[in-house]
Subunit: 351 residues, 2 copies
């Protein structure tokens, strides 16, 4: 049985929602858990999930329901961690100083083979740093990158790097392409995933030096990568490719702009409906439809980003993750383990 280590103390709603989501996933996807954090807090939360239950916060057009899960029937192991890395701390320093922190010990669980993957919703920097130092890099990969799956008009698209590396070289972006395509094929099940470079125009000579050189590098390796050229920001959602490659700075800005734009549009629509009584009625009628869209594009549905390039599976969840998001993050971790995405990335470089 696949076992997923969870940093139970990371994220805005830890440990309550984290433990709830992990247990929910254990029941739904049949995985074993290793909950890492303050033992007494975790035991308390497990007890709560079992007796009081918790509220599902998302999914199915936002229909809330109370969920109670009998934890005694699940394979749950607790690993005590006496320290917590807070959001503001410098990641590199923090993981060296706090060797008994929940994130460091959760990654250790994967390194020692006690678990198969780790899910973390706290500091992204700390999750990356502890994974990099605790698990090491896959040979052939210079820098791990964050792969995020986004909804589009048709099928989901992978954006890599979504924020791990602010300063990149063309060689790094080429490696991101390899990792993103491997993920798309194996975890999302897309045959011959089409890879594009995020750029500000279609033509080969467009964009900054990084985009131009990456274009050339990918063009030169078309026998191994299904390269389809440059992709503009507005095309990300049009299913013209399956993997978008960019540096972590641009990727992170792009993802957050998507989030900000959706939030603004939904807020504006709500405001518009409030203008008069008729509007209020129509708004009420339209609400379930809007909720369904909101659910479709919600980051919680996608369950977090995968840190690719380390020798182990690390899924990084949104800091605001509640139980539903954590449940999906565990699903992503399980799929990544079972499809052997890391082994396939490693194999690319062996051939």
């Amino acid at each position: 049985m696949t076992r997923i280590a969870i940093d139970a103390m990371g994220g805005d709603h830890a440990p309550h929602e984290i433990v709830a989501g992990a247990v929910w996933a254990a029941q739904e996807y049949g995985v074993a858990l290793e909950l890492v954090g303050k033992q007494d807090r975790i035991e308390q939360e497990l007890d709560r999930v079992c007796h009081e239950g918790f509220y599902s916060d998302c999914g199915k057009a936002g229909k809330q329901r109370r969920i109670r899960i009998d934890t005694s029937k699940l394979d749950i192991k607790i690993t005590h961690a006496s320290e917590i890395i807070e959001m503001g701390e410098a990641p590199g320093q923090a993981i060296r100083k706090k060797k008994k922190s929940s994130i460091v010990l959760a990654v250790d669980a994967v390194a020692t083979g006690s678990s198969d993957a780790v899910v973390a919703a706290g500091s992204t920097g700390a999750a990356m740093a502890s994974s990099l130092f605790g698990l090491g890099r896959i040979p052939g990969i210079d820098r791990p990158a964050i792969a995020v799956t986004l909804p589009t008009i048709k099928r989901p698209i992978v954006v890599i790097d979504a924020g791990a590396n602010s300063n990149c070289s063309p060689e790094m972006l080429y490696q991101f392409a390899v990792m993103g395509a491997t993920f798309s094929k194996n975890v999302l099940g897309i045959e011959h995933p089409r890879v594009g470079v995020l750029n500000i125009g279609e033509e080969a000579g467009k964009g900054n030096e990084l985009a131009q050189h990456t274009y050339k590098l990918l063009e030169d390796h078309q026998e191994r990568i299904n390269f389809v050229g440059n992709i503009e920001g507005k095309e990300i959602f049009l299913s013209v490719c399956d993997v978008v490659v960019c540096d972590g700075f641009v990727g992170n800005v792009a993802l957050k702009v998507t989030e900000g734009t959706s939030q603004m549009l939904f807020r504006m629509l709500k405001q518009e409906f409030k203008a008069d009584l008729l509007g209020k009625i129509i708004g009420l009628l339209a609400k379930p439809f809007m909720k369904r869209i909101y659910t479709k594009i919600n980051y919680e549905e996608f369950g977090g980003a995968l840190l690719l390039g380390v020798k182990g599976i690390t899924v990084i969840s949104h800091g605001r993750s509640k139980a539903y998001a954590i449940k999906n993050a565990v699903r992503v971790a399980k799929e990544a383990v079972e499809t052997g995405v890391n082994e396939k990335i490693a194999k690319f470089y062996e051939e």
Copy 2:
């Protein structure tokens, strides 16, 4: 009377929609025009606007109406241009080769003082290159930049650079901050505009080298710039600042992602409403509300981007611009002329 030169041949809907929009603006805002392009085509279009009329394509929640304008009462000058620069041409080469092209002659009209500003909807690169070579730079500015005004929850925000410069230095971004703030204050009427650096986190040390150094530079010049720190992608629409500074690559990606996200959300909502009969009815009822939002966030409403840093006013419109967008672009050009935004940028560097 302020006279605006129009590249009548540029853009997907030239010359029909361009001429119509310019004439519409002349009537509505009381400006004189200099229409630059093939004389016979322009005369033909003017005749059409006068007799057959044209359709307003946007504004007021998408209510289409036919507009006929008596051009004989307006101050309209035609300047013949025998050449056109097409969208695919390399801008630098094209403007040197086609000295009789509509964009080059429209910029010339500003350079020689025959007009006060130029509006162009064709190739952005050609508009930039001809403006840079035809008008020259404002002393103190190394590279002109594109300022785009975006809707937010509260008041509009300026994003600079939106695509003129893919490779930037911190000094360039500092100059963009100066130009953006001057534009925000003088054209948008925002007192002490708050300037932020587009970044992937709030803290000073976040982001790539460019963002980090720009942060320091702006911090060191706080007596002249109202610098409020880093702004994340999702905060652009939350009115936490009035000017967002970034390199043209990131700015262009951010803008196009905004466009793409809105398009996808509206499409998804439409699809969702189509699911059943009840949905279709609710969708029909909700349509005017959605249209109003669409109008609010529509690029056509904002009338195009201003190229700041050249000695003259150049407004670059979306290639897909129709009459309504061109009308608004002329308004932006007029406001930029009358508020003397260039003189104020120049003054900043004289002090």
